[in-house]
């Protein structure tokens, strides 16, 4: 079955129903391996102790937060350029998931940094960039919710997503610059300057697990959005039908 066939919502729903159980199983399996690697195989940090293992949550979440915006950017092009019917469904479903992962990244970063910094937050370059990304996600979700018609909302959100995609590197660069401006010495690099192989493998495993989690959630969310739109269409049809019936009756 070619990808183009999935453009039909009904076909997509069938596809989702078939694939979801497998995805859930794969996600659970990947997490089992990933957690085992992270908790038992990876060594403690000589300085931070076991708390360094929060990194195995924090880094994949950061990666997914950015990956999600990339996915939404592709979806945005799908809506605006190729007019793919399910592109805006994919975009709308992805936004809250991306926001959640970004928030988790901030939260785990805060928890991780607390023992080291003594505070829950530090305005360092990386965390701050992720905070800005989080605010952009929330803005995008607000935009989705503010327009009733899904088609119009989709196009508006697509434009904002593309603008965001172009701006994110610029924001990252300027935040880095702002940070060096005020803190010339490199204070604290989460994750350390080099990554040893004993950490790399568990990290990779967790990254795969989280990505599978994202795909599972995204697929389920897309299915829900399609169903939601169906309910909306049915409601509108009921309203139109009432009007049609009255027209027919008044002429009878």
């Amino acid at each position: 079955m070619a990808l183009i066939d999935l453009a039909n919502p009904t076909r997509f729903l069938n596809f989702a129903e078939r694939v979801l159980p497998w995805l859930v199983a794969a996600t659970l399996f990947a997490f089992a391996i990933g957690l085992e690697q992270a908790l038992f195989v990876a060594p403690d940090d000589y300085q931070q102790g076991a708390t360094v293992k929060i990194m195995f949550l924090h880094v994949p979440c950061a990666w997914l937060g950015m990956f999600c915006w990339g996915l939404m950017t592709v979806a945005a092009l799908g809506t605006l350029v190729w007019r793919h019917p399910l592109a805006d469904v994919a975009a709308k479903a992805a936004a809250p998931i991306g926001a959640a992962f970004t928030f988790l990244c901030l939260f785990t970063g805060s928890m991780w940094g607390r023992p080291m910094w003594g505070t829950y937050w530090q305005w360092d370059a990386r965390l701050t960039s992720v905070l800005v990304l989080f605010i952009m996600y929330l803005g995008l979700i607000a935009l989705w919710r503010s327009v009733e018609d899904p088609g119009r909302a989709g196009r508006a959100a697509a434009v904002l997503t593309l603008v965001g995609a172009v701006n994110l590197p610029i924001i990252k660069f300027s935040v880095d610059w702002w940070n060096t401006l005020h803190q010339p010495a490199s204070v604290f690099r989460i994750g350390g300057p080099t990554i040893d192989k004993s950490i790399l493998v568990p990290l990779f495993a967790m990254a795969i697990a989280f990505t599978l989690l994202f795909l599972t959630l995204h697929l389920a969310a897309m299915r829900n959005e399609i169903l939601r739109r169906r309910v909306r269409s049915m409601q509108m049809l009921r309203v139109f039908a009432d009007e049609d019936m009255r027209q027919i009756e008044s002429r009878a």
């Binding site: 009733e148 409601q235 509108m236 009921r238 309203v239 139109f240 009432d242 009007e243 009255r246 027209q247 009756e249 008044s250």
Partner: protein, 204 residues
């Protein structure tokens, strides 16, 4: 006065309980302005409005329903929620909200978002407001606009029932109301010099 411009002058009329007044005239003659004056939404530059009878402690606007060009519907709320709000706001009796929806034929759509309604359905929902919370005076601005034949017929029935109960109707309209026995006030025509500005209404 509207926007500093005098809209009409020398308007004189009396309407009694059980009577209907049709306000006619070309566009811009001031039909809407007159209705809004009676509704208390505008102050007359000159002249007065007098209400005899009716509830002693309520002003004229508090005893009137105004059906304007806009339907006062919130798209975010359902059909039922919209009507229930006005019913509670204007102090209707318990059962009348659901009954009103039935009467205008929107009971089937009660739970659906008001955003999806057509112009005619919105008009019918606005009319439901009039019967969900009874008030003696009805001020209607082109009430049959956007309604199909069946809807217009239904509205005429409702107006007839209102008049039979002693209510009063002042309606701005382009064509005939279909009620029969309706007084007419034509705006925009030259006024005989003896007439003075003013209007009177009496309600039971």
């Amino acid at each position: 006065m509207r926007g500093g411009r005098e809209v009409f002058e020398g308007v004189n009329f009396t309407v009694a309980g059980g009577e209907a007044l049709a306000v006619t005239g070309r566009n811009g003659a001031g039909k809407t302005t007159l209705l809004r004056l009676i509704a208390g939404l505008l102050e007359p530059a000159q002249g007065r409005l007098e209400l005899t009878g009716g509830a002693a402690d309520a002003t004229l606007p508090e005893q009137a329903h105004y059906l304007g060009h806009r339907d006062a519907l919130k798209p975010a709320l359902s059909v039922q929620e919209n009507l229930a709000f006005w019913h509670a706001f204007f102090g209707g009796h318990d059962a009348s909200a659901a009954g009103a929806l039935e009467t205008v034929g929107l009971a089937d759509l009660a739970g659906l978002p008001a955003a999806y309604l057509s112009a005619g359905q919105r008009r019918r929902l606005a009319i439901a407001r009039l019967i969900a919370a009874p008030r003696p005076i009805w001020l209607l601005d082109e009430p049959t606009a956007a309604l199909d034949t069946a809807g217009q017929g239904r509205l005429v029935e409702l107006m007839r029932a209102h008049l039979d109960h002693g209510g009063l109707i002042v309606a701005a309209t382009h064509g005939p109301l279909g009620l029969g026995g309706v007084k007419e006030l034509r705006l925009g025509d030259p006024v005989p010099p003896a007439a003075t500005g003013g209007g009177e209404k009496s309600a039971p």
